[in-house]
C-alpha cells in the first residue's frame, strides 16, 4: 500500500534584518510602513499559507563597536504589528518571536492571550532565549543570565505561561444580566507558581483565548534546543532545507517526542528556505546569481570575513585574495548581536578551509563569500520549485517551509501566483482554509484535549 501524500505547510517570513534581504533593488519598499506588512500578509493569505512570521531584535547589531549599517537596520514591535495585521487578514496565522529572557511570564502571557482573542485564534509564539549582556543593556534586568541557564529559564517561563493560560477554563464568563452574575467562578484566573526562576501568584486577568494557548514555536538547534522543542513546542524552525540534513534533523527531533509521550504529528518541522523563481530553470539560475551578488557587496564580504577573523580587515581588497593572517581568538567579538557569530565555532579551521577553497577556485574574498554563504534553497521554474518542495516533504526532510523572500514587500507575489497553484494541483496543499484557527491550519489539537476541528 502506498503512503498517503503528506500535506505541506507553508509560511512566510517578513524580509528584514538579515543579509538575505535585498534593499538596494528599486522594487524594495519600506520594512517599517504598515502598508508593506499589509501587502505581504495579504499575499500570504491569498496563497492560503499557514502563517506569517516576524522575527525580533532587542538591540541593534554592532560591528567593531559601531552600529552595523550594510543590511536593513530597524524594525517595528512584533506584538503591535501582529495585532494590526489581524485587522487586514482573516485566516492567516500570526507568529511572533518574543524573547523569554527580557520579559516576565505574566506580561507575555497576557499579551499572547490578548493577541489570540484579537486574532480569533491565530496567534503563535516563537519562544527564544538570550543571555548576553549586550542586549541586556536595554533592559531593567540587564544581562544577568548565565548561558547554561538559558533553556531552564525558557522552559520554566513557558511552563509558567501555560499555567496562566490554563488558569481560566473558558466557561467562566456568564455575563447574565438577569441573575447579575458576570463571572461563574470567583477564583477564575487564580495561580501560584513557585520555581527557580519565577515565584509568582495571584489572578491572571485575560480569559481563556480561542486556541486555549497560542501555538508554540521553537528555533534552537543545540541538543538542549531540540529537547526543549520535543517536550514543549508545536513547531520547530530549522535550518536544514536539504534532503540529507533535513532527514537527519527530522528523524532526530521526531524520535525525541516519544520521551514526552507525544506523537510525531504533534510537532511540525519547518525549515526556513529562500528561493529564486524564474520562467525557466536557466533563468532562475541566472536570477539566483544576480540576487547573490546584490546580497554580498564588497563591503558586506569584508565584514562577513571579519565575523570569522574577528579583526579589522578593512585594509583588504574584497576583489583580492583572502588574508593570510589567522583569526583572532578572544572572548570579545567584533560583531555583537548577530546570530551568525555562533555558526563559526572553530574560526581557525574555518579560515584554513576558506583559504584552501579560494585558492583552488581562484576566488576573491567576495567570490568566496558569495559561494560559501546562504544560497537560495529552491532555484528554478515554478514546476521545478513545486516538485522540489513536495519531494522534500514527502521524503520526511520537513513538514513544510518558512519562505524567506529577498524583497520587501513583493517578494512573495510570484510564489503565491505561480508555485502555490502547482502544489494545489498535486493535491499536497490546501485550496481553502480548513478552519478558523492556526491550530486548524497546522493540524494541531486544541489543548483542551479535543481535535482542532472541534473548535470550528
Amino acid at each position: 500500500m502506498s503512503k498517503p501524500q503528506k500535506q505541506i505547510h507553508l509560511a512566510a517570513h517578513f524580509p528584514g534584518v538579515n543579509n538575505t534581504t535585498v534593499w538596494s533593488d528599486p522594487r524594495a519598499g519600506s520594512h517599517i510602513d504598515f502598508g508593506s506588512f499589509t501587502h505581504f500578509a495579504r499575499t500570504a493569505e491569498r496563497a492560503k499559507f499557514d502563517f506569517l512570521f516576524l522575527a525580533e531584535g532587542l538591540r541593534l547589531r554592532e560591528h567593531a563597536g559601531e552600529i552595523y549599517d550594510l543590511d536593513v537596520v530597524g524594525r517595528p514591535d512584533t506584538f503591535t504589528v501582529l495585532a494590526a495585521l489581524a485587522a487586514v487578514t482573516e485566516h492567516l496565522g500570526l507568529t511572533g518571536t518574543i524573547n523569554s529572557t527580557f520579559n516576565e511570564p505574566y506580561e507575555v502571557a497576557r499579551q499572547f492571550a490578548s493577541l489570540d482573542h484579537l486574532t480569533e485564534g491565530r496567534a503563535a509564539w516563537n519562544v527564544v532565549t538570550s543571555w548576553d549582556a549586550f542586549t541586556g543593556e536595554n533592559f531593567r534586568r540587564g544581562g544577568f543570565l548565565p548561558q547554561e541557564e538559558r533553556y531552564t529559564r525558557a522552559a520554566e517561563f513557558l511552563a509558567t505561561a501555560h499555567e496562566l493560560f490554563d488558569s481560566w477554563r473558558g466557561d467562566e464568563i456568564l455575563a447574565d444580566p438577569a441573575t447579575g452574575t458576570f463571572l461563574g467562578d470567583a477564583k477564575a484566573g487564580a495561580f501560584v507558581h513557585s520555581g527557580r526562576h519565577f515565584d509568582i501568584q495571584g489572578r491572571f486577568n485575560v480569559p481563556r483565548s480561542p486556541q486555549g494557548r497560542p501555538v508554540i514555536f521553537q528555533a534552537g538547534d543545540s541538543d538542549e534546543g531540540r529537547e526543549f522543542a520535543a517536550s514543549d513546542a508545536d513547531a520547530i524552525f530549522s535550518r536544514y532545507a536539504t534532503l540529507e540534513e533535513g532527514q537527519a534533523f527530522y528523524a532526530d527531533v521526531k524520535r525525541r517526542l516519544a520521551r514526552y509521550g507525544r506523537r510525531p504529528e504533534q510537532l511540525k518541522i519547518l525549515p526556513a528556505a529562500t528561493f529564486a523563481l524564474g520562467d525557466t530553470d536557466a533563468e532562475a539560475e541566472e536570477l539566483a546569481r544576480e540576487v547573490r551578488r546584490q546580497q554580498v557587496s564588497g563591503a558586506t564580504a569584508l565584514r562577513h570575513l571579519e565575523f570569522v577573523w574577528n579583526r579589522d580587515l578593512s585594509a583588504y581588497d574584497p576583489d583580492g585574495p583572502l588574508p593570510d593572517i589567522d583569526p583572532l581568538v578572544s572572548d570579545g567579538h567584533i560583531a555583537e548581536g548577530r546570530a551568525q557569530v555562533r555558526m563559526y565555532r572553530d574560526p581557525l579551521a574555518t579560515a584554513r578551509e576558506w583559504r584552501e577553497r579560494a585558492a583552488a577556485h581562484g576566488w576573491s574574498i567576495r567570490d568566496l563569500v558569495i559561494n560559501t554563504g546562504n544560497r537560495q534553497n529552491f532555484v528554478g521554474s515554478p514546476e521545478t520549485i513545486a516538485r522540489s518542495i513536495d519531494a522534500l516533504v514527502q521524503a520526511d526532510a520537513a513538514d513544510g517551509f518558512i519562505l524567506v523572500p529577498h524583497l520587501t514587500p513583493g517578494g512573495l507575489d510570484a510564489f503565491a501566483d505561480r508555485v502555490v497553484p502547482l502544489l494545489q494541483e498535486r493535491g499536497v496543499f490546501r485550496t481553502e482554509y480548513e478552519g478558523p484557527t492556526l491550530r486548524h491550519h497546522l493540524g494541531l489539537e486544541h489543548p483542551d484535549g479535543s481535535g482542532a476541528a472541534r473548535a470550528a
Partner: protein, 402 residues
C-alpha cells in the same frame, strides 16, 4: 448661555469594559459577552471617530479589576478580565483613519524599551495617531504577579508611608517616560539613507544611544524602531494631587484631572503650570483635560433615573474620583464650557454605560457643541498631535541640518 470660546475644545472618551458604572454590563445596550472580541472594540472606536473626537483612551491593568482600590476582591457581579490595551489599540488602528489611540500602560512592572517600540509601532501602523497613558500601580498583589519587587501594603493614602511610596513610583514613572521619549528620538528623521553607492542602509551617525541612568534602571539604546511619524507620540497621565501633577508637568502632553468645579479647575491648572515652570517646561504645550463621568439622556430626570437604576443593580451608590454628571447634552455642554473658561482645554468623558452614553456623546453632545461653534465639524489634521494643536517636535539628538 456661554459664548463661543476662542480656543477649540478637545474631546476624548475613556473606554473601559462596558462603561464606568459597575452595573453597566447589565444594561440592554451593553454587549458584555463580546468584551473579549476585536469587533466590540472596533465598534466603540469607530463610534467615537464618527463623533470627531480627538482620541480614545483604553483602560488597562496588570491585575483583575477590583472594587477595592488596593486589594483584590472575589466579586462575581462585575466585569472582570481585560485585554492588553496596546494590542487592542493596534487591532483597531487599521479600521480607523483620524482618531487618536491612547492605550494605558502600567510602567511599574514593565520594560520601557518594550513599551517605547510598541507605542512607536502603534504610531507607524496608525500613521501618526498614537499616544499612551502612563499609569503606576501601588498594589501589592500586582507586584506579586511579577515577583521582582515587593510593594508594602498601605492603609491610608495620606499617610507618610503611602506618600513616600507614591512619590517613589511616580519618580520612577518620570524616569520611564524620559526613556520612552529619548528612545523615540534615538533615530533622527531620515536616518535610513539606502545609499546604494556606498552600500549603507542607514547613516549610523544619525542613530544615538540614549544612555539613560536612573535610580531604578538604566537603558542604553538606541531603539530598534525608527522614529515614529509624530516624532513623539502623545504622552498622557491622570493625576489627583501634587505628586502626579508633577509627573504631568514634567513629562506629559495631556494631563487628565478630576476638577469638580471651576474654582478647583483653576487651582489645579495653576498648580500644574507652576510645576511646569519649575521643571523648565514653561510655555511648552500641555493640555489639561477634565475627566467627567457621564450619564447622558434627553431629560435630566431620565439620566438621574438611570443612575439610580444602575446603583440599585450594583447594590451601592456609584462613587468616582471624577465628577459625575447626569443630564442632557445641552446641560453637559454648559458644564464643559464653564470648566473650559476656568482653564481646562478639553475633557476626557467617561461614559457610564458605553452602549448608551457613547452614542449619546457622539450624536447628542457633539452636535450641541458644534451648534455653539465650540467643536470641530470635520477632522482638521491627520495626526493626533495635529488634532491637539501640537507641532511635530524637533529631535533632541539631531546634529544634522533638517
Amino acid at each position: 448661555m456661554s459664548s463661543a470660546p476662542s480656543a477649540p475644545l478637545h474631546l476624548a472618551v475613556a473606554l473601559d469594559g462596558t462603561g464606568w458604572h459597575p452595573a453597566s454590563w447589565r444594561e440592554p445596550a451593553s454587549r458584555p459577552r463580546e468584551l473579549f472580541t476585536a469587533r466590540y472594540w472596533a465598534g466603540l472606536v469607530t463610534e467615537a471617530e464618527r463623533g470627531l473626537l480627538d482620541l480614545v483612551t483604553i483602560e488597562d491593568g496588570l491585575g483583575l479589576q477590583s472594587s477595592h482600590f488596593l486589594e483584590p476582591d472575589d466579586r462575581t457581579d462585575q466585569v472582570r478580565g481585560r485585554l492588553d490595551a496596546v494590542l487592542t489599540a493596534a487591532r483597531v488602528a487599521p479600521l480607523t483613519r483620524h482618531i487618536g489611540l491612547v492605550p494605558t500602560a502600567v510602567v511599574t512592572h514593565t520594560e520601557p524599551f518594550h513599551l517605547s517600540k510598541a507605542i512607536a509601532t502603534l504610531d507607524h501602523v496608525s500613521s501618526g495617531r498614537a499616544g499612551v497613558r502612563v499609569q503606576i500601580t501601588a498594589r501589592p498583589h500586582e507586584a506579586a504577579h511579577f515577583g521582582r519587587r515587593t510593594i508594602e501594603p498601605i492603609d491610608a493614602y495620606d499617610s507618610p508611608a503611602a506618600q513616600d511610596l507614591v512619590t517613589d513610583l511616580f519618580d520612577e514613572a518620570a524616569d520611564y517616560t524620559e526613556v520612552l521619549r529619548r528612545l523615540w528620538d534615538s533615530w533622527e528623521d531620515g536616518a535610513e539613507i539606502r545609499d546604494a553607492a556606498t552600500g549603507r542602509f542607514i547613516d549610523r551617525d544619525r542613530l544615538h544611544p540614549i544612555d539613560f541612568e536612573g535610580r531604578r534602571f538604566s537603558v542604553r539604546g538606541p531603539s530598534i524602531t525608527p522614529r515614529p511619524p509624530q516624532g513623539q507620540p502623545v504622552v498622557t497621565a491622570l493625576g489627583h494631587q501634587t505628586v502626579p501633577y508633577r509627573l504631568i508637568a514634567r513629562q506629559a502632553d495631556i494631563g487628565y484631572v478630576t476638577a469638580h468645579d471651576p474654582g478647583q479647575a483653576r487651582a489645579i491648572v495653576a498648580e500644574i503650570r507652576a510645576e511646569q515652570e519649575a521643571a523648565g517646561r514653561a510655555g511648552e504645550p500641555l493640555h489639561v483635560f477634565g475627566d467627567v463621568v457621564v450619564f447622558l439622556d434627553e431629560t435630566e430626570r431620565a439620566a438621574r433615573d438611570r443612575l439610580s437604576r444602575l446603583d440599585t443593580a450594583a447594590g451601592s451608590p456609584y462613587e468616582s474620583d471624577a465628577p459625575v454628571f447626569t443630564g442632557t447634552p445641552a446641560q453637559l455642554a454648559d458644564l464643559l464650557q464653564e470648566l473650559q473658561a476656568a482653564g481646562l482645554s478639553g475633557f476626557r468623558l467617561r461614559p457610564a454605560v458605553l452602549g448608551h452614553d457613547l452614542p449619546a456623546l457622539t450624536r447628542g453632545l457633539v452636535p450641541e457643541l458644534q451648534h455653539r461653534g465650540a467643536f470641530r465639524r470635520a477632522y482638521e489634521a491627520d495626526t493626533l498631535r495635529g488634532l491637539l494643536g501640537f507641532a511635530r517636535p524637533a529631535n533632541r539628538y539631531a546634529t544634522t541640518a533638517a
